[in-house]
């Protein structure tokens, strides 16, 4: 957290507006993400998840990737969160648990996550000490489209087949016999 703030303030003289927006959105995302993993109400967790995903879309716009930002809003906020709310509705009887998670387990999970964060932060700060992202102009949608349908056509088709397989698979798994 403090490393993040230090990184933000390091070059605030150059891109003041971007850094202020980044800081505000990043803070919102982190607080919302903590709420997602700590709140005991499943519906509230899904709604906090919406805030995290919207914040990620804002970060994509800050990085000049408008198409990814729009797709994020469409697919994640529009489809995935609705799917979660449907899931909550269909499994309503078992809501409001997680108060029962053992304190010891909680501490161990926090230690694991904290250690992971420490290792990753040290590695990142050591490797990308002051690499800067310079965004002259947003990445055009036509560039992304050209790239998907020429250079990345095989992975694109593979993802299409994967989506079809997941669709059929989830119908087969969830079907009532």
């Amino acid at each position: 957290m403090s490393a993040l703030l230090a990184a933000v303030s390091a070059d605030s003289d150059q891109f003041v507006a971007q850094n202020v927006f980044f800081g505000v959105i990043a803070l919102l995302m982190i607080v919302s993400a903590l709420k997602v993993v700590t709140t005991s109400n499943v519906v509230h967790a899904a709604l906090w998840l919406v805030l995290v995903l919207a914040g990620a879309a804002a970060q994509f716009i800050l990085l000049g990737s408008e198409f990814v930002a729009v797709t994020q809003v469409l697919v994640y906020i529009g489809a995935v969160v609705v799917l979660f709310l449907f899931g909550v509705m269909l499994t309503r009887a078992s809501m409001g648990d997680d108060e029962t998670a053992a304190g010891e387990k909680r501490v161990m999970a926090a230690v694991v996550a904290g250690l992971l964060l420490a290792v990753m932060s040290v590695a990142l700060i050591d490797t990308f000490a002051d690499d800067r992202v310079v965004i002259d102009e947003p990445q055009l949608v036509s560039t992304v489209a050209d790239s998907i349908f020429s250079q990345y056509i095989v992975p694109f088709e593979a993802v299409s087949v994967l989506l079809l397989a997941a669709l059929i698979g989830s119908i087969v798994v969830a079907r009532k016999d």
Partner: protein
């Protein structure tokens, strides 16, 4: 903007997601924590794409979004099946394979 500020934000979100996966017992909430993890990876991909000025980062972020959507679909189907069979989505009760 520094590259590191995006990467550190993604690392924080990733670790919060890992904490959620480890601590949550409700299947739906574990799936939501997995979404946090996948989303932090997307931030990394787009940030590296912007650093190298290569469109590949964005394209792979889009692929990750598609894979995450497929994962949520299958995961929810499994949680629903578990609920239908056991009337509970507490993952600590799903220990049929425990030796």
């Amino acid at each position: 903007m520094l590259l590191n500020q995006f990467l550190l934000l993604a690392a924080v979100l990733f670790c919060i997601g890992v904490y959620g996966v480890l601590v949550r017992r409700n299947g739906m909430l574990v799936l939501m924590s997995i979404e946090l993890i996948l989303n932090s990876v997307n931030i990394n991909l787009v940030a590296f794409g912007a650093l190298t000025d290569d469109v590949g980062g964005e394209v792979f972020a889009l692929f990750t979004i598609a894979v995450a959507a497929a994962e949520v679909g299958v995961g929810l189907a499994i949680v629903l099946l578990m609920y239908r069979n056991r009337r509970s989505i507490d993952l600590s009760e799903a220990d049929l394979l425990k030796g």
